[in-house]
C-alpha cells in the first residue's frame, strides 16, 4: 500500500517539481476554472456541482496521501506544506465539500450555478493557500481572494433583498479591515524589513527585540483587527449576524465554518508563532492578556446576545461568535496542548455548526421559516432533522458525550494545564468565564430543543427533507458522535499539527 503511494508521489514530484506541495490547491483551481465552463456547455448546475465535489474529493485524497507519505516541503519559498497546513486544508476541503453537497438541492441557491461553484472552489483553494503560506504577501492576497469571493457568494442568493444588503455590509467592513491589515503589515514590514514570517531573517526571528516598539505594536493590532474580522471577534463581529441572516444558508454555513477557520489559521501562523518565539517577553504577555480579554468579551457578547434572538440563523451566527471566543483562549494560553484543543475544536465546530446550518437549509428548502417559533413541534413534522438538530445544539452547548463536549473539554483544560503537566491558575478566570458562558449557551440551545420537542406544532403535516440533505445531516451526526466518543485519530493529527506549528518557532 504505502509503496504504491510513494511511487505515485515520486512520479508527481518528477512532474511538478516543487509544485507538488501546492497540488491540492491547483486541483481546486482547476475545478474553479472548469465548473463555469461545464455549466455553459451543459446548462446543468448538477454537472458543475458534481465536478467541483469530485475534484474536492480528489484533492482531499491527494492531501491525505501526501500526509500519509509525509511529503512535506516548501513551494516557491511561499507555501509550506506541513502537518499543520495539510490538516487545515482537509478542514477547508471538508467544509467546501459539505457546502457543495447541499447547495444543489437548496432552494435559495442562485441560478448562476457555474459561478457559484467556481467561487466556492476558488475560495477553498485560497483558504488552502493561506493555510500553507509563509509570507505576508501570500497571506494577504489569499485572504483578500477569500473575502472577495465570499462577498460575491453572499450576494448570490435567489430573490431576497436581504442578501444584497448583507453583501454590501460585508464588503464595507471587510474592505475596512483589510485596509487595517495592510496598514499593519506595512508597519511590520517597516520595522522588520521583511515579509517572510519564518526563516533566519524572517519576522519571527527578529520579533524578540521588538518589545516596546510601537510601530510594531500598531502593526500587530492592525492585523489583529483584520483577522479578528475574519473570525468575527468582538468588536469586529457586527457584520456576521446580518451576513449570516442575509446570505443563503449554505453560504452562511460556509462562512461560519470555513473562512472563520482560515482566520484562525492565519492568527495561529502569525501571532502564536510570533509570541511564542518571543518567549515571555513583556510584550508577549501583554498580547496574551489582550487576546484573553478579546476571548472573554467575544464569548460573553456572543452568548448573551444569542439569547434574545428569534431568527435561528442569527442565533447560530451569535453562537459561532461565541465559539470563536472559546477558540481565542488558545491565543491567550499559547501552550501546545491548548493549540491541540483549539484545532480539535475547529473540527468539531465544523461538524456541529455546519450540521446545524445544513438542517436549517434543509428545513428552509422544505418550506419552513427561519424564526425559532417556526420550529415548534418539529419533532413530529421532521423527526430525523429534529433529532439531528438537537444533537448538534447539545454538542455546541458541550453536553457529553458529543463532539463539542470533548473538544471544549480539551480546550478548557488546556487553559489550566502547563506544558510540564502541572496546573497554572493564571487563566482560571478565563476558564470560569468560558464555562459560565457555555452554561448560558445551554439556555438558548435548550430553548430551540424545547420548541422542537415540547411545543405543539401549528400543523401536523410532515416536512419533506431532500436526500442530499439527509445524507449530509447523517454525515454530520456521525461526525458529532464519533468525534465525541472516539476522537483519537483526529487528536493525533491535531497534536502533530501543533508540533509542526511550534516547530516553526
Amino acid at each position: 500500500m504505502a509503496d504504491i503511494f510513494n511511487s505515485m508521489i515520486d512520479a508527481l514530484s518528477d512532474l511538478l517539481g516543487q509544485g507538488i506541495y501546492v497540488l491540492p490547491e491547483i486541483i481546486l483551481m482547476v475545478a474553479a476554472v472548469l465548473s463555469p465552463l461545464l455549466y455553459f456547455i451543459t446548462k446543468k448546475g448538477t454537472a458543475s456541482a458534481v465536478l467541483t465535489f469530485v475534484l474536492m474529493a480528489v484533492s482531499a485524497v491527494v492531501t491525505c496521501i501526501m500526509m500519509h507519505t509525509v511529503t512535506y516541503g516548501t513551494a516557491f519559498g511561499l507555501f509550506e506544506f506541513d502537518a499543520f497546513s495539510s490538516l487545515m486544508m482537509l478542514l477547508f476541503l471538508a467544509v467546501g465539500g459539505l457546502t457543495v453537497f447541499i447547495s444543489q438541492g437548496h432552494v435559495e441557491t442562485t441560478k448562476h450555478k457555474g459561478e457559484y461553484y467556481a467561487l466556492i472552489a476558488g475560495a477553498v483553494a485560497a483558504m488552502m493557500f493561506v493555510a500553507s503560506a509563509t509570507n505576508l504577501v501570500a497571506i494577504f492576497v489569499g485572504v483578500e481572494v477569500v473575502s472577495i469571493f465570499s462577498y460575491a457568494l453572499v450576494a448570490l442568493k435567489k430573490n431576497d433583498p436581504r442578501s444584497s444588503e448583507a453583501a454590501v455590509k460585508y464588503l464595507i467592513i471587510g474592505a475596512l479591515s483589510s485596509a487595517l491589515t495592510l496598514y499593519g503589515m506595512s508597519m511590520i514590514y517597516g520595522v522588520t524589513g521583511s515579509l517572510d514570517l519564518y526563516g533566519p531573517d524572517g519576522i519571527v526571528a527578529q520579533v524578540s527585540v521588538m518589545a516596546g516598539n510601537w510601530p510594531f505594536i500598531i502593526g500587530c493590532v492592525g492585523m489583529i483587527a483584520g483577522y479578528g474580522f475574519k473570525i468575527s471577534a468582538v468588536p469586529f463581529h457586527s457584520w456576521s449576524p446580518d451576513v449570516y441572516e442575509g446570505a443563503s444558508t449554505p453560504v452562511s454555513g460556509f462562512l461560519a465554518t470555513g473562512s472563520k477557520k482560515m482566520g484562525f489559521a492565519v492568527i495561529l501562523k502569525i501571532f502564536l508563532v510570533m509570541f511564542v518565539a518571543m518567549e515571555t517577553g513583556v510584550l508577549s504577555e501583554d498580547f496574551q492578556m489582550v487576546f484573553a480579554i478579546l476571548a472573554a468579551i467575544t464569548m460573553t457578547v456572543g452568548n448573551v446576545v444569542a439569547i434574545s434572538q428569534t431568527n435561528i440563523k442569527r442565533m447560530l451566527a451569535y453562537s459561532s461568535i461565541a465559539q470563536a471566543g472559546y477558540i481565542l483562549i488558545v491565543l491567550a494560553v499559547m501552550s501546545q496542548y491548548a493549540v491541540v484543543g483549539g484545532l480539535f475544536h475547529m473540527f468539531t465546530h465544523v461538524v456541529m455548526k455546519g450540521g446545524a446550518f445544513v438542517v436549517v437549509a434543509a428545513l428552509i428548502t422544505a418550506g419552513l421559516g427561519e424564526r425559532i417559533s417556526d420550529y415548534n413541534g418539529l419533532a413530529k413534522r421532521a423527526p430525523f432533522a429534529a433529532a439531528a438538530m438537537m444533537l448538534f445544539l447539545f454538542s455546541l452547548a458541550g453536553i457529553p458525550p458529543l463532539a463539542g463536549f470533548t473538544s471544549k473539554f480539551i480546550l478548557f483544560s488546556g487553559a489550566l494545564a502547563t506544558p510540564a503537566g502541572g496546573v497554572d491558575l493564571t487563566w482560571l478566570w478565563l476558564v470560569l468565564v468560558a464555562v459560565l458562558n457555555s452554561a448560558i449557551s445551554l439556555y438558548y440551545y435548550a430553548r430551540v430543543v424545547k420548541a422542537m420537542y415540547v411545543e405543539k406544532p401549528q400543523t401536523e403535516e410532515r416536512l419533506p427533507i431532500g436526500r442530499a440533505f439527509t445524507v449530509a445531516i447523517a454525515l454530520c451526526v456521525i461526525g458529532v458522535i464519533v468525534l465525541g466518543v472516539y476522537p483519537n485519530v483526529l487528536l493525533d493529527l491535531c497534536s502533530t499539527a501543533a508540533d509542526a506549528l511550534f516547530a516553526l518557532v
Binding site: L416, G421, G422, V435, V454
Partner: protein, 499 residues
C-alpha cells in the same frame, strides 16, 4: 471475569433505551414490557454482584484505554466496592420499580421508558466509573433524560422547572469540571484514572483547599445543600412521579457519592479535609434545620417531601463532614435508606395527586376512610422517614446524630446537638401533621370524591416491596453495613479520617 458484568450493567439499559425508543406506533404497548425486561435484567445482575463474596468484587474491575493522545489519557474503568454496590443496587431496584409503577403511562410510553433507561445508563456509569472523564460524562448524561421527563410529562410549570433544573445543575457540574481539570493536571498530569490521580497525589495545601472547594460546590448543588437547593423543589413539584422518585432516590445521591469518592480521598485532599470539615458540618446542620422548617410551611405534599429530602441529605452531609468511621458509615447508610424511603414517599405523594386530583393538604382530609391502602403506605413511608425504630430511617439517623455528637464532643461544642434533636422533633412534627391533615379528621368535601379512588394493585405491590425492604434493612441493618464497613475501613486504612 470472562463476562464483563459491570459493562453489562451499563450496556443493558442502553440497549433497552434504544429498543424502546424505536417502539413507536403500533408497537408502543410493548415498550413498557421491553423496559421492564431490561431493568429486571439489570436488577438481577446487580443482585448477582451483591451476593458475590466481597473479596471477588475487586476482580470485576474492567479497564479499557479510551483516549490516549496529546499527553492526556482517558480510560473506561468500571470498578465496584462497598459504596458503589449499594448505589448500583439501589439504582437497578428503583428503576425496575419505577417502570412497573408507571405501567399505565399512556402518553408516548416508548419515549417515557426510553428516558428512564437512558437515565439508568448514566446513573450506573456514575456509580461505577473509576475515571474522572468517564465519571463526568456519565454525570452529565443523567441530566438530559430528566430534562425531558420533566418538560414532557411534568406539571403546569414544567418548562420553567425543567430549564431551571437543567441550567442550574449544569453550571454546578461545570464548576466541578474545572476542579477535575485542576485535580488531574495537578497530580497525574493528564491521566484521568482515579487510581492514577490518587497515586500521584502531591497537591500543595492551597491548591488542595481550592480544588476541594470547586469539587465540593459541584457535588453540593446536586445533593442539594442550601442555599444552592432551589432547583430541587421546583423540579420535584413539576416532575412526574417516576421522575421525582429517581431524582430523590438516586440522583441526589450522586452528589454525596461524589463527595465520599473524591473529596474524602485522603491521598488527594489530606490537607484540605480538616479545613473544609467545619464548613461541611455547618452547612449540613443548616440544611437539616432549614429544610425541616421549610417543610413545615408547605401545603403541597410533594413539595414538603422535596424539602424533607433536603434536610435528610443535610444529615448525610453532616455524616460525611464528621469524617469519622461512624459518620461515613451512616452517611452511606442514610444514602441507601433515603433512596428507598424517598422513593416510597414520592410514589405516595404522586398517587395522592393522581388518585385524589390534588396534593394540597388544605383540600384533603379524612382520606384514611376513603383510601385505606393509601393511608397505610403513606403512614409507613412517613414513619420511616421520621426515623421510627424498626425502619431504616432510625438506624441512619441514630448513627449520624451520634457521629455528630462525637464530633461536637471532640471540638467541645456539645450544645449544638440540640439542633439535631430539634430536627428530629420537627421532622416528626410535620409528618404527623401532614398525616393528620391528609388522612384523618373530617372527610373532605373540597375534592371530587366520586373520582377519588384508592391505590391500584400494581402500585400497591411496588409500594409493598419498598415497605418490606425498608423494614428488612431496618430490622437487620447488618445486611447493608456488611457492605459498607469494608469500604469505610479501607478509607480508614488510607488515613482518610480525622477522628
Amino acid at each position: 471475569m470472562d463476562v464483563p458484568i459491570l459493562s453489562l450493567l451499563v450496556l443493558l439499559p442502553l440497549i433497552g433505551a434504544v429498543l424502546t425508543l424505536f417502539m413507536g406506533g403500533a408497537r408502543t404497548k410493548y415498550a413498557k414490557v421491553v423496559a421492564a425486561v431490561f431493568t429486571a435484567a439489570a436488577l438481577v445482575l446487580s443482585l448477582y454482584v451483591m451476593f458475590m463474596p466481597s473479596g471477588d468484587l475487586a476482580n470485576l474491575t474492567e479497564n479499557y484505554t479510551w483516549i490516549e493522545s496529546a499527553g492526556i489519557k482517558m480510560s473506561i474503568i468500571f470498578g465496584i466496592d462497598g459504596l458503589s454496590i449499594l448505589m448500583v443496587f439501589l439504582t437497578a431496584l428503583l428503576m425496575f420499580l419505577v417502570v412497573v409503577f408507571s405501567w399505565n403511562e399512556e402518553d408516548r410510553p416508548n419515549y417515557f421508558h426510553a428516558l428512564l433507561l437512558a437515565m439508568e445508563v448514566g446513573l450506573m456509569g456514575v456509580y461505577m466509573a473509576q475515571d474522572y472523564f468517564l465519571f463526568y460524562i456519565m454525570w452529565e448524561v443523567t441530566l438530559i433524560p430528566m430534562f425531558f421527563l420533566i418538560s414532557w410529562y411534568g406539571g403546569p410549570r414544567r418548562h420553567y422547572s425543567a430549564i431551571k433544573f437543567f441550567i442550574y445543575t449544569h453550571v454546578a457540574s461545570l464548576i466541578m469540571l474545572i476542579g477535575i481539570f485542576g485535580l488531574v493536571f495537578g497530580t497525574s498530569g493528564g491521566d484521568f484514572a482515579f487510581a492514577a490521580v490518587a497515586n500521584a497525589g502531591g497537591l500543595s495545601e492551597a491548591m488542595q483547599i481550592f480544588l476541594f472547594g470547586l469539587l465540593f460546590f459541584g457535588f453540593a448543588v446536586k445533593m442539594p445543600v442550601p442555599p444552592f437547593h432551589t432547583w430541587l423543589p421546583d423540579a420535584h413539584v413539576e416532575a412526574p412521579t417516576a421522575g421525582s422518585v429517581l431524582l430523590a432516590g438516586v440522583m441526589l445521591k450522586m452528589g454525596s457519592y461524589g463527595i465520599i469518592r473524591v473529596c474524602l480521598d485522603a491521598d488527594i485532599f489530606a490537607l484540605a479535609m480538616p479545613v473544609w470539615q467545619p464548613v461541611m458540618i455547618g452547612l449540613g446542620i443548616f440544611a437539616m434545620v432549614y429544610g425541616v422548617y421549610a417543610c413545615i410551611a408547605q401545603n403541597d405534599l410533594k413539595k414538603m417531601v422535596a424539602y424533607s429530602s433536603i434536610s435528610h441529605m443535610g444529615m448525610v452531609l453532616v455524616g460525611m463532614g464528621c469524617m469519622s468511621e461512624i459518620g461515613i458509615e451512616f452517611a452511606i447508610f442514610q444514602m441507601f435508606a433515603h433512596g428507598l424511603i424517598s422513593a416510597a414517599l414520592f410514589m405516595v405523594c404522586g398517587l395522592a395527586g393522581h388518585n385524589f386530583g390534588t396534593r394540597d393538604m388544605r383540600l384533603l382530609g379524612g382520606m384514611a376512610g376513603k383510601a385505606p391502602r393509601f393511608a397505610l403506605f403513606m403512614m409507613i413511608a412517613f414513619m420511616a422517614s421520621l426515623g421510627l425504630p424498626g425502619l431504616m430511617g432510625f438506624i441512619a439517623e441514630f448513627g449520624l446524630l451520634y457521629g455528630l455528637w462525637e464530633y461536637l464532643a471532640s471540638v467541645d461544642l456539645m450544645p449544638i446537638i440540640l439542633l439535631g434533636l430539634l430536627y428530629m422533633l420537627l421532622t416528626a412534627g410535620y409528618y404527623i401533621w401532614a398525616m393528620q391533615k391528609t388522612l384523618f379528621g373530617k372527610l373532605t368535601d373540597k375534592i371530587d370524591l366520586e373520582h377519588a379512588h384508592d391505590i391500584g394493585n400494581i402500585e400497591c405491590v411496588v409500594l409493598a416491596v419498598l415497605a418490606v425492604l425498608i423494614a428488612l434493612f431496618g430490622i437487620l441493618p447488618g445486611l447493608a453495613t456488611d457492605y459498607i464497613m469494608p469500604f469505610v475501613s479501607s478509607i480508614v486504612n488510607a488515613g482518610g479520617l480525622l477522628i
